[in-house]
């Protein structure tokens, strides 16, 4: 399948970077089926979180709701650079959900609310794997709430602005492999929140061609309540690894700049295209500012990440198969923000090629059932560990990553 899609590669070879990272993907069953190309797509109010400029287009007398859930399985396999041992990540399902509501308050002004879970991952390696002292388990969950106002500038143009409140939880666990006991572990967890804005514009020329452009600022999740705990450390080293201490950290979520087109090819077929630039470069390193605890002094633990800005390209198709049934399909190519030198098993990512399919079935004039499935497959990544650089904790080897996402939801208009 990859080989057949290689013709797409020249399209992207001129790009310096692309998107993906730990985005969980399109936030809505219908836009997931469309491959996420929803910056200029008004077929689902789930576009609200991507482009607030769409909101003005749902300015009729109806109140619209769209909600549902999704599950994402992201698994990587690893082969040790020198040991040749293969390790597969444990199966984890990253749950997510979405809720959207829109309502017109006047002829020109509409309001909306978007609750989404746009970023996250759950990496879980077997407890005894080769890199257990680098990472055993790492989890990030984020939740965005975005109240939005949309203004219909004319029949063909609308603009919108949303305020983003984000909440995130982050935790990590690894083994202290310098000790023989296999149950020694080091874990930390923290949570915090941040703010951002989301602005967008939507326009239409005639009935067949529409465009959208939107920008969502980056969000800094400030986490001030972190706790570090260790267990199983021998008494002689208790001062080096206090049983518990507190820390502060910050996680920078990227800004996104999206440009999209939607083109109605025939009465029943709509094609959509999206380009997204994700500003991952704000994620430079993970720094834990650990407070002093007992005889252990305050210290800063820093892990370099050096993410790059990254582009994503998405194509979607919507086909009205019957008055009640709409079929969806999509293709996407997501570049990875992670450079070769900074591949770390905490979160494995690669340039990924993905395909998606979905459907929307109108149960009654008010209710539509939506479902979608997306699969993406990453390039092989080679990580080299340099033992002589003692400040970097890593394992060398090759990684392959595949992601499956399934979503189901309901769209209501009344």
């Amino acid at each position: 399948m990859r080989a057949r899609l290689l013709f797409l590669l020249p399209l992207f070879s001129g790009l310096t970077a692309a998107a993906s990272g730990f985005e969980t993907g399109p936030q809505g069953a219908r836009v997931l089926g469309l491959g996420g190309a929803s910056t200029a797509y008004i077929g689902s109010i789930a576009g609200l979180s991507v482009n607030p400029g769409l909101l003005g287009q749902w300015g009729d007398s109806l109140t619209r709701l769209s909600f549902g859930g999704f599950g994402q399985i992201r698994r990587s396999s690893y082969i040790g650079q020198d040991t040749y041992k293969r390790t597969d990540q444990d199966l984890t399902v990253l749950p997510g959900g979405y809720f959207y509501a829109t309502r017109a308050v006047s002829k020109r002004v509409s309001v909306g609310l978007a609750l989404t879970s746009p970023y996250g991952y759950h990496t879980k390696w077997p407890d005894t794997w080769e890199g257990r002292s680098v990472i055993q388990e790492s989890q990030l969950n984020t939740y965005f709430a975005q109240p939005t106002v949309g203004i219909r500038l004319s029949d063909n143009f609308s603009a919108g602005v949303g305020f983003v409140y984000a909440y995130g939880k982050y935790s990590q666990r690894r083994a202290l492999g310098q000790y023989d006991a296999t149950n020694t572990s080091y874990q930390f967890s923290s949570s915090g929140s941040g703010y951002g804005v989301n602005v967008g514009l939507y326009g239409r020329s005639g009935d067949n061609l529409a465009f959208g452009i939107s920008y969502r600022s980056g969000v800094r999740l400030k986490m001030n309540n972190g706790t570090i705990g260790t267990s199983g450390v021998p008494a002689r080293d208790a001062a080096l690894y206090p049983a518990s201490s507190s820390f502060k950290t910050q996680i920078n979520l990227p800004s996104t700049l999206s440009v999209g087109l939607a083109d109605r090819i025939t009465k029943n077929l709509l094609l959509t295209f999206d380009f997204t630039l994700n500003g991952w470069s704000t994620l430079d390193s993970l720094r834990l500012d650990v407070a002093a605890s007992g005889t252990a002094p305050a210290q800063r633990l820093s892990t370099a990440r050096r993410y790059e800005d990254a582009l994503a390209f998405r194509v979607g198709a919507e086909y009205q198969a019957s008055p009640k049934l709409t079929l969806l399909g999509g293709l996407n190519y997501d570049e990875s923000p992670i450079r070769d030198e900074y591949i770390n098993p905490e979160f494995i990512d690669a340039n990924r090629l993905g395909a998606s399919a979905g459907l929307s079935y109108q149960l009654t004039p008010r209710f539509a059932l939506e479902g979608a499935y997306a699969f993406s497959y990453g390039q092989q990544r080679l990580s080299r560990a340099n033992p002589l650089n003692a400040t970097v904790s890593n394992v060398g080897g090759t990684y392959r990553t595949a992601t499956s996402t399934a979503s189901i939801g309901l769209a209501v208009a009344f």
């Binding site: 698994r75 040790g80 080769e130 499956s404 399934a406």
Partner: protein, 469 residues
């Protein structure tokens, strides 16, 4: 479609549920198959303490099983199933005695005690040995003394003793006799063979060899702060170089493939490294919270103490005593002054490897290493291991911690020259732990892979224990 867990398209007519389930499998990757281009069916290991598996000053069944030749042999077996390897194993629980950790001093230096070994059957004490009484411990003999083991590593074996007859014969077990109890226990009783003869006999059936010999020639000098052992001079240099050629002629006879290891830098050993002059001074200043300098005796005996430099190394065995008050005669009164941390109470010459002593021993080591390199590439025309240096011998410095920087990081675990916490070296400040042995074995594996177009997997070092007892 490697990413799919089902392997044929015939099963492709699946329900959506099944498709979901199968995509949840981790994407596949092909693991390389271990291969080796040479015959390793009978591997012969020649060496001293490291090769024998000495750890924490003693030999036990576990320490023998974690010797680097045995770890290496296990990996070789993955590529060649009929490869065998035999060691002169001690019975379970019947070790020669070893050091165990008691506690750490306030300065973080380990204190050890010696655990007696049940395998000791007789003691020979030399009260007049240099640096204090010396004890030779005769050990229970191996189960099969008639058959030579493939691991011919002998703790304490000096290359200079290569052609000494009766080295492993109990008649030589006298206070001043040329005798090695570890060699004795792998031979039949009253065997007068030299080590060279034993290697020659064992090599007759060997198809592959490793050679890592010579470190134990220099250790007595190091351990005594330059007071005892064979003086490192041109005589020793020539003996080592000549004897290396004699034994390597036997090992490489008929073009037998193998790996020759050069000796690592001596200051990578924790015996020296933990007490490196200025680093030690800084560490002591930090724990005592003062600015006191470290002083050593003037090696030429002028009686004037001099501040320590980074070219001088306080022996690790002495470190717990540094800074402790000890009686010194100042003028006519005896005062209690901190050992080494007062200009009137400098560290004794026997407790320090000073600049000149280091120079002397290093010149022997460098000359010996150069000769090994020359023999391997010019005389025996062995394949190249390090292409950038056009070297056909294995440089173990890369595998040892504290060669570049103070530590190496392996799979998220730091290894340093620090005993106990550094995980590489055992409590005798000299021999490796099982993990250290695995890192050395991995260096040999990497050398074999380069020299013999092989594809031998390395050992997951962090999965081994950090003590061999």
């Amino acid at each position: 479609m490697k990413n799919f867990c089902l392997n044929t398209w015939s099963r492709a007519g699946l329900t959506a549920v099944a498709a979901l389930a199968l995509n949840a499998c981790a994407p596949g990757q092909d693991t390389p198959t271990p291969t080796i281009g040479v015959n390793v069916s009978r591997y012969l290991a020649v060496g001293d303490s490291y090769t024998a598996g000495l750890s924490a000053g003693g030999l036990t069944l576990a320490s023998q099983q974690y010797s680097y030749p045995n770890l290496l042999a296990q990996q070789l077996r993955g590529a060649q199933a009929d490869a065998t390897f035999s060691q002169p194993l001690l019975a379970a629980g019947a070790g020669s005695g070893y050091f165990s950790l008691v506690d750490f001093t306030a300065q973080g230096f380990p204190r050890t005690r010696r655990v007696p070994g049940p395998a000791v059957r007789r003691l020979v004490i030399n009260p007049a040995a240099c640096g204090g009484a010396d004890t030779i411990r005769l050990l229970t003999r191996t189960d099969a003394p008639g058959t030579l083991p493939q691991n011919l590593g002998v703790p304490g074996l000096r290359l200079a003793q290569l052609q000494v007859a009766n080295l492993g014969n109990e008649i030589n077990a006298t206070p001043t006799g040329n005798f090695n109890p570890y060699f004795e226990r792998i031979l039949p009783a009253s065997d007068s063979r030299t080590y060279l003869k034993v290697v020659t006999d064992a090599a007759a059936s060997a198809t592959f060899f490793t050679y890592f010999l010579g470190l134990d020639d220099l250790m007595p000098y190091l351990r005594s702060g330059g007071q005892c052992g064979t003086a490192p001079n041109s005589t020793l240099t020539n003996t080592l170089r000549n004897n290396a050629k004699v034994v390597l002629d036997v090992l490489t006879a008929g073009g037998r493939p193998g790996i020759i290891a050069r000796l690592p830098d001596l200051n990578t050993l924790p015996l020296l490294r933990t007490g490196r002059g200025l680093s030690l001074q800084k560490r002591l200043q930090a724990t005592y919270g003062d600015n006191a300098l470290l002083y050593i005796e003037d090696p030429f005996g002028s009686g004037v103490a001099q501040p320590i430099t980074d070219d001088e190394y306080v022996l690790a065995t002495v470190l717990p005593r540094i800074g402790q008050p000890s009686p010194v005669l100042v003028g006519t009164t005896t005062m209690m002054l901190p050992y080494g941390r007062d200009v009137r109470n400098p560290i004794r010459d026997a407790d320090v490897m000073d600049f000149d002593e280091m120079n002397r021993v290093n010149s022997v080591l460098n000359s010996y290493n150069t000769e090994l390199d020359r023999l391997a590439s010019v005389v025996y025309k062995m394949p190249i291991i390090d292409a950038s240096k056009k070297s056909s011998t294995l440089d173990l410095n890369g595998a040892m911690p504290s060669y570049v920087g103070e530590a190496i990081s392996v799979g998220g675990v730091l290894y340093s020259a620090e005993p106990v916490r550094g995980n590489f070296f055992s409590l005798d400040y000299y021999t490796p732990t099982p993990r250290g042995n695995a890192l050395i074995a991995n260096a040999f594996i990497s050398a074999i892979n380069k020299a013999y177009q092989a594809n031998i997997p390395a050992i997951d070092v962090n999965s081994l224990p950090s003590v061999a007892q």
